[in-house]
């Protein structure tokens, strides 16, 4: 800033002696004048040393109106001419000092406003609320509205009270799962999967049957859920029962399997029968055993027919099946309307059982079915026997593959029954010839009672029938009018006639006349005759030897013979039941060395044959003994030839 200084273009040569300074240094001169009253000459150190001449030189100073600082060479681009052009007129004003004042003209807008605010304030009071300032601007013209009159406006909203809201869901149900992964679990699963697939295939195929199936399935399911608890136990319980029985009869079972009577060596030829289990059933107490038969497929299963031999004591009958594995209770129980007189189990289909009843009916039971009723019954069909059926025997299936069996009855007829669908169709084979003692006019009325029947093992068309009169007739299925041969066997009832299982010509018969006779079919008279002191009720060949047979008598004794060893005497004559019990039936087990005998109390006793009774011919040293039926036949042949 420069102090305004009167500088005039005055040519002055005034050089005061007191002021020794140039007007170039005006300030210093003035000031020097005042406080430097000394006479001394003071020279500032940086004063230019000028000569007198120079000091006397006149310098002209000119005042201009132009600003020395203003630019003189401002150039602007002119778009009109397309070149740079200097601007001549440049603003020459130089501002040395600027100060903004706060004076406002009172007639201006702002002035008036402020004066109004001022008036409001002066009115006194006024609202403290700052937000009214602008509204009452008219009144408060005097109030200042400068930038520094700072208004802060804040507003408080209503704060809602904070609340915690949480939601707890119900946890998903949890269950503990554990399983083992074994090889067999995997196997089980695969098996089930396979079954499911098979079932689904079947469903697709048989879909039209679905409705019926569903209904039956529903019923099944209901029934099953009731019984399901215990039903599945059936098999399990059966096994346990057998196990318990095995424990009880443990010694018997051991004997059955392993015991061989060592004392047989000392007994010479004789043998004994070791009693094993006794089979009895409470409800059969009043009945007597009338028939026995082993099952060929299951060698421990046998059938017992119960009824009564007495004419006067006829009641109901029973068919029971026992197994050696469970001696205390029968496996199967069938009740029949009248006494069972005979039965036979089919050789191949061991679930088919034919029974002949006292009232002349024949029936066929199917063991696979769970019913009490026979699957076939000749009750209602025509051609049924008018009198007790004494023997039934299964035959080979006929040409139409129907099963058939033959029965002989007390009415003298030999009838063949064929199982056709749901019926028994009968065919008369032959009628037993009436004996001569009956007068002619009664011949048609009084029949010849047939008591026993047996078919040849190899030539199954040939059969033997024993009669009440003691005759044995040999017949053939192909000849229906006449018998081929007649043998005068016994004086009384022939109770049993059987072919030898090995030799084709030999058969045995027994009767109430105390005799057991062995015949060669080519000869009219018996080859061997044995007398056992009471009536013989049954005789059977052994399946393992052609020369061994056993007979039972009414005095409760079992007689075992081996013709190879002793032609005249029994090897064993043993009483096996308590006194006054009559034995009625005997059967050899096809595999095991045991026999079963049935008595009139309804009991069946099993006996083991001692080694002496099971002898095979002695082996000659160095020679291999040929086994098989040929040997047996040869044995028999040898015997017979010696007697012819």
């Amino acid at each position: 800033m420069s102090v305004p200084h009167k500088v005039g273009s005055v040519k002055s040569k005034q050089v005061s002696s007191f002021v020794m300074q140039d007007e170039e240094e005006g300030l210093d001169t003035a000031e020097g004048e005042e406080w430097m009253q000394g006479k001394t000459l003071v020279k500032p150190p940086d004063q230019l040393d000028l000569t007198e001449a120079e000091l006397n030189e006149e310098i002209t100073r000119v005042l201009k109106a132009s600003n020395p600082n203003a630019p003189q060479n401002v150039v602007r681009y002119s778009f009109k001419e397309g070149c740079y052009k200097p601007i001549v007129f440049v603003d020459q004003m130089a501002i040395h000092f600027e100060l903004e004042g706060n004076l406002v003209h009172k007639d201006s807008d702002e002035g008036r406003r402020l004066m109004a605010k001022q008036a409001e304030v002066d009115d006194g009071g006024g609202d403290e609320r700052p937000d009214n300032v602008s509204i009452k601007a008219g009144k408060r013209e005097q109030k200042l509205t400068n930038q520094f009159n700072f208004n802060e406006r804040a507003s408080q909203t209503l704060n809602n009270a904070p609340r915690d809201i949480s939601c707890q869901t119900e946890p998903p149900p949890r269950a503990n799962f554990s399983a083992t992964a074994n090889q067999w679990e995997i196997y089980d699963f695969y098996v089930e999967e396979l079954q499911r697939r098979v079932k689904s295939k079947e469903k697709h195929e048989g879909q039209f049957l679905n409705k019926e199936e569903d209904k039956s399935k529903k019923k099944m399911i209901q029934a099953e859920t009731q019984n399901d608890d215990i039903y599945q136990l059936a098999k399990v319980v059966k096994i346990i029962e057998r196990m318990v029985n095995q424990n009880i009869f443990d010694d018997v079972a051991q004997d059955f399997m392993y015991f061989e009577d060592a004392s047989d060596e000392f007994r010479g030829e004789k043998g004994t029968l070791l009693p094993l289990w006794t089979f009895q059933y409470d409800k059969a107490k009043s009945l007597s055993v009338t028939a026995l038969c082993w099952n060929h497929k299951y060698n421990d299963l046998f059938a017992v027919g119960l009824g009564s031999h007495e004419f006067t004591q006829q009641g109901g009958g029973m068919l029971l099946f026992y197994t050696l594995k469970n001696p205390s209770y029968p496996e199967f129980i069938f009740n029949t309307a009248s006494g069972v007189m005979c039965l036979d189990i089919h050789e191949h289909l061991s679930y088919l059982v034919a029974v002949g009843l006292y009232d002349g009916c024949v029936a066929v039971y199917n063991l696979k079915k769970k019913t009490d009723q026979p699957i076939y019954n000749s009750r209602a069909s025509s051609g049924k026997h008018t009198s007790a059926v004494m023997q039934v025997k299964w035959q080979k299936d006929d040409l139409d593959s129907n099963h058939n069996f033959i029965s002989v009855s007390a009415d003298g007829r030999v009838v063949s029954w064929t199982l056709v669908k749901h019926e028994l169709v009968f065919t008369d084979i032959i009628k037993l010839p009436v004996i001569d003692t009956i007068p002619d006019d009664l011949k048609d009325v009084i029949p010849t009672v047939g008591t026993s029947l047996d078919f040849h093992k190899q030539k199954d068309y040939s059969f033997l029938v024993g009669t009440e009169h003691g005759k044995i007739h040999k017949g053939s299925k192909y000849y229906s009018s006449k018998f081929l041969e007649k043998y005068d066997a016994h004086f009384m009832n022939v109770t049993r006639v059987r072919w030898n299982p090995f030799h084709p010509d030999v058969f045995i018969s027994c009767g109430w006349d105390w005799m057991v006779k062995i015949w060669d079919q080519t000869m009219k008279s018996p080859v061997f005759t044995f007398e056992l002191k009471t009536s013989v009720t049954d005789v059977a060949w052994a399946p393992y030897s052609s020369t061994v047979f056993a007979a039972v008598t009414t005095d409760g004794k079992v007689h075992v013979f081996d013709l190879n060893i002793n032609k005249y005497e029994a090897l064993c004559q043993q009483k096996v039941v308590s006194k006054k019990t009559k034995l009625f039936n005997i059967e050899f087990n096809p595999v095991h060395p045991i026999i079963i005998v049935g008595d009139d109390r309804g009991h069946v006793t099993s006996l083991k044959l001692s080694p002496n009774l099971r002898k095979k011919p002695k082996e000659k040293k160095g020679q291999d003994l040929p086994k098989g039926p040929e040997v047996e036949i040869a044995k028999m042949e040898q015997l017979l030839s010696s007697l012819r």
Partner: protein
Amino acid sequence: STLTPFAEVEDTLKRIQGINGVIGTIVVNAEGIPIKTTLDNSTTVQYAGLLHQLTMKARSTVRDIDPQNDLTFLRIRSKKHEIMVSTDKEYLLIVIQNPAE
């Protein structure tokens, strides 16, 4: 064979229980809970629990060796009794017998 399976099983069970020398019988279901018994409660529970485990172990052994095979029954003979366990897919039948009369 003349009875419904249900009655047949009941019948057989009764027969077994009636045999002289049989101390008791227990029928146990697949979870080891006894459903039928002729013994008192504590003994039953004990037998059922222990024999169930043993049977499972035995069955596991048999099937591990050959998955097509399965356990039929188990017999434990001790000085005093013989315990026979017969098994099925779902049930266990335990019979305790005194074999030597």
